[in-house]
Symmetry: C2
Subunit: 160 residues, 2 copies
Amino acid sequence: MARKPKTRSRTGCPVCVSLERFGDRWSLLIIRDLMVRGYRTFREFQNAGEGIATNVLSNRLRKLVAHEIITAVPSAEDGRSVHYRLTSKGIALAPVMLELLIWAARHEETAASCAFVDRMEKDREAVLAETYRRWEQRDLTPILPPFPPPTQVQRRKPTR
Amino acid sequence: MARKPKTRSRTGCPVCVSLERFGDRWSLLIIRDLMVRGYRTFREFQNAGEGIATNVLSNRLRKLVAHEIITAVPSAEDGRSVHYRLTSKGIALAPVMLELLIWAARHEETAASCAFVDRMEKDREAVLAETYRRWEQRDLTPILPPFPPPTQVQRRKPTR
DNA sequence: TAATTCACTTGCAAAATGCAAGCTAACTCG
DNA sequence: CGAGTTAGCTTGCATTTTGCAAGTGAATTA
């Protein structure tokens, strides 16, 4: 397999590389679903609420597999189904995801409750440990349920 | 001011909201330049190495201003020039940026040296404190210099 | 065996992006 | 003062990516 030459101008900046991997509107949502909602299948991502188009979903899954952020294995029970799962490289994005969540919850109007974010922010390590534990043990019980669309919203003062 | 209605399907999920703010290839690079390189002007962003098109740059700056992640103030010395600066909401993205940097440095081939990332990872709080300090004091000396394009690369084993 | 489900493709219109060129108000230099 | 230069954009246009609807084929269920 030839490497992507990409017309895109690359630098060795880590932030830049990260953005090349998942710097679009959908990749991180897929990773979120895998990480905190226990989703595994194409269908689950598709119905996740944000309404990703199937062609884009297919394309993103392929890219993430290519970059070894997720794996795709055929389901043992159902021959049609594929189970996607984060790799260790993928689950290592947990701190990024957590900080993203905390930032938005503190600075934007979101459906995350204050108490919830308080806990996240106070016990980062515990939240992360639990996330890693579920990943290792293939525990699919969601850490976060899907958030409802914005109706009643709340906001909190940032910590600093 | 009317709120953006946006055809885009929104949920109240914080991660989703974050992605709406800077989930594209360029916004976070602008934020990086403001945060760790001490850049302030249009011209500086334009020449930052990754080669953003001026129309896109203009558009992203406007969006970031609209969402109060950055401010734009006319330069006192030069009437043509505009100084962009992170707001407190913007500088609060420092932990996200740091985790992004650490992840890529650990899991992708980047120009960040091992020693450098080791320090970042070990002393997150100190790195963040220094970042906030520079922001508060308007200290423009860069924390990170621009990384060279990828030639010699190194990789490290992830911590966990 | 027929219908349904899953994980995709395909085709096409609409939007975003990349690229080059232009444009205007401020500067600088002589 | 006037000619050039610079900063920060905007415009036009071709290319790429996206969103949306409608398939497709293999596996499963009724």
